[in-house]
Symmetry: C2
């Protein structure tokens, strides 16, 4: 562990090393470069919190907003129509902001595919040239109430799911999951990929939209809760949620033209629910954002180059560091040398108390990400140490129906040295090769250190943030 | 426990008493009336087994047949057409043989409903009179390669699922699950019940049959294996299996007339897979039957009056005793005084290594049958003590993907005093009231004692059974 850190800056922890505990690993890092500054900062904040109760009360507010958020899937519409303020030639991407010149291979490949799909360029070569100019605006999904898995590319014509939080009045969006094989989200941009995107636009999206119009909204929180009881962690395992969803929609869908094709696609895709799960998580995270004094983390996201977090009390600012390479289980013929650094917005799952945080309820996920069911239970138990509370409706039967740990508290992460766990697929570093493995990573501590420094500056030196009146409706 | 046994013959064990262990409970019974005879018998058999290896080898053969059996759902057809040798005016019922005069309330109610449904009588009163005469033949489902939940009534016009074991060439049958509410299997026989049976015959059955014809057979073992990883134990919890099944069939079904209605019914019925699971278990149990020298149990079944078992090396003989009342969780307003004694063929699940035997993988089932996930794990662990082996494809993620315990060995049950566990719904003793609770029961030891006595007689005194050439094709 220490070797990895000192030699390459890789901040992930392999399952085989888990027994040495992350606290130890954190302690190593602390010794190198960051203990003194945020130890001071924590002390200062802790003193303030105990004096005024600001932080604890604010975190409770953020947590309550997170877990009381609804997530009702109401529609499927083109991104440009659905997402407020998305420009005509805008391409959204996963993770914190990144420019074309710093973008990783798979994300560049996906941008190229999106430009060809939109018809802004005729060939991948022309698309690549265009992407490097101002003619295409790049922006993070997260800054447009949106989340996308892996490369996370959303272009204006792509259909997105519309997920509404009726409790707090905000909305979130995500693309439709493409299935496995050659897909845009792993940076593939060939003819098949674009043809499949066309099919999704022409057939999948309208059938789903018409089904929802006739059926009414789908309660994604309820589906997630049921799926969590059935071995999904609704990040990398979504087979139960996808099956429950199909069973709920099939009676209505069966009466529509194209139903057979769409049901066959849903039958083939165990991950279909992933993007819906992500939007359900995002709508909750956004509801918890911008609570003054709250140290609750409201986003963890990666673009394959940088890893970034946002913190409720610090609004829409990103705190970023180099995205780590995942020390996971690689498919035959591949190893970590082939891997793209951590990528995707899907860590919104862990940000809101599912995914790696709910692994105890998903022993089968270890067949995908490595480790044993006992490891999975340890990951969840550990996450209770860095979170504000337990989700009341997301329970883990194997832990006596205890709620999943949710609401990552920046201060507790730094106090304990326990970095949030994220389970994830691993993309090849070259566009279009696709998934080459899966594993369990850790959010890099450097983001949390920087966020705490900023928190101290904003609250102790500058008298507080400037978003107090923004409310949950603001784009973030 | 001792009081219950001596005063009322109730041989079940409540979850709250589980910690005292069944071995103790068994020991109490032993002291009363049966230790010496089968202790002698076990000694004699053990000596023979160790001398010749007969029993161990035979049990291994029976176990291998059980776990290597296929279970492919190929068709839905009227019982009279599908089930070989089912007479024109025959009504099959759950459990060991029983005459009308000894039949329990719910089973009588279901017979009355079946007679009205068949049109053999116009009113329930007339049906009741007819049932008491020779004009209607009653026979156990189990003796016609069939299994039915609760009352387990099968009449000639009822559609049954046809499940084939291609490995050994035998077939099993079960009715289609009616869903919840007023249903025949709990002894209801009103107009609604018969109307629903008519709908099942006219709409549900043909849509399913046409779907299977176009889709091909459904691998019920694969579905069960996947569902066991998703918190089902495929006896009282079938939500994952039902959802996976719908997802598999929906693309084909969607193109058929009536699909919307059928998919809506499947959406409403989390237990739809139960009857398929039972037929899949039955086809395996039948494949394991009639192995000379095998002490493996091939049926445990209840008719609400008697509890009976069959043993591989003893062919189609039943060993019966009074059916116990379940000490379970009752719905509000009900208690054990309202309960019908244990009823249904669904304990074919436990007979073949799922249901109560797989409870460790189904922590959520405890919300239905009582107890905690820790109790569920204990039940499964205990069943490893009385079984021949572990099912290779039915695994329990929470126990490190260990196979479920399967192949109940009569000798080990008697040696250890551990009675097989069965989780089950509880019917009201009056016809038509329906389910009033659920719980975990134990197979009564008296059946095992009698079977062992018969085993000794057949193999040590009479030189072996007379079915040696019957093969798995025989009705049993």
């Amino acid at each position: 562990m220490t070797d990895d850190l000192s030699e390459s800056g890789i901040a992930t922890v392999g399952l085989d090393r888990f027994a040495t505990t992350l606290a130890e690993a954190g302690a190593d890092v602390v010794d190198v470069d960051w203990t003194p500054p945020e130890s001071d900062a924590i002390d200062a904040l802790t003193a303030l919190a105990s004096e005024h109760g600001h932080i604890e009360a604010a975190n409770r507010t953020a947590f309550d907003r997170l877990v009381s958020a609804d997530a009702v899937w109401r529609d499927v519409r083109p991104a440009a129509e659905a997402i407020p303020g998305m420009g005509e030639r805008t391409v959204l991407h996963a993770g914190p902001p990144v420019t074309w010149d710093r973008m990783c291979g798979p994300q560049r490949g996906a941008v190229v595919g999106a430009i060809v799909y939109e018809g802004w360029a005729d060939t991948p070569e022309a698309a690549r040239e265009l992407a490097a100019t101002d003619a295409v605006s790049l922006a993070p999904c997260h800054e447009h109430r949106t989340v996308g898995p892996m490369a996370g590319i959303v272009s204006p014509s792509m259909p997105v799911v519309v997920v509404e939080n009726d409790t707090h009045g905000n909305t979130a969006y995500s693309t439709l999951n493409e299935g496995l094989g050659e897909v845009l989200r792993f940076g593939a941009y060939g003819e098949e990929v674009v043809d499949h995107l066309d099919w999704m636009e022409a057939t999948l999206a309208p059938v789903l939209a018409d089904t929802l119009a006739a059926h009414g909204g789908v309660d994604l929180q309820l589906l997630s809760a049921r799926a969590l009881e059935m071995g999904d962690e609704v990040h990398n395992r979504n087979v139960a949620a996808t099956s429950l969803l199909v069973r709920e929609l099939a009676p209505t869908m069966a009466t529509l033209e194209g139903a057979g094709e769409v049901l066959a696609f849903l039958e083939s895709n165990d991950h279909f629910f992933l993007n819906l799960s992500m939007a359900a998580c995002k709508v909750g995270a956004d509801a918890a954002a911008e609570v003054p004094w709250s140290t609750v983390v409201t986003a963890m996201a990666r673009n394959g180059t940088d890893f970034g977090i946002r913190v409720s009390g610090l609004g829409d600012r990103w705190f970023t560091t180099t995205a780590p390479v995942i020390d996971g289980l690689y498919f035959p013929e591949y190893d970590a040398a082939d891997a793209n650094p951590d990528i995707g917005d899907s860590s919104i799952a862990e940000t809101t108390g599912v995914g790696g945080f709910a692994m105890a309820g998903s022993p089968s996920i270890t067949q995908f990400v490595g480790g044993t069911p006992a490891d999975a239970r340890r990951f969840t138990r550990e996450m209770y140490e860095v979170t504000v509370g337990e989700r009341p409706t997301y329970t883990i039967p194997g832990l006596g129906f205890r709620g999943t740990p949710a609401g990552i508290d920046l201060c507790r992460v730094l106090e304990t040295g326990i970095a949030p766990v994220i389970n994830t697929g691993i993309a090849h570093e070259d566009p279009g090769v696709g998934q080459i493995g899966a594993g369990v990573s850790r959010a890099p501590m450097a983001c949390f250190v920087d966020a705490l420094k900023a928190f101290r500056t904003v609250y102790l030196d500058e008298g507080g943030p400037d978003f107090a009146d923004a409310g949950p409706e603001a784009d973030r």
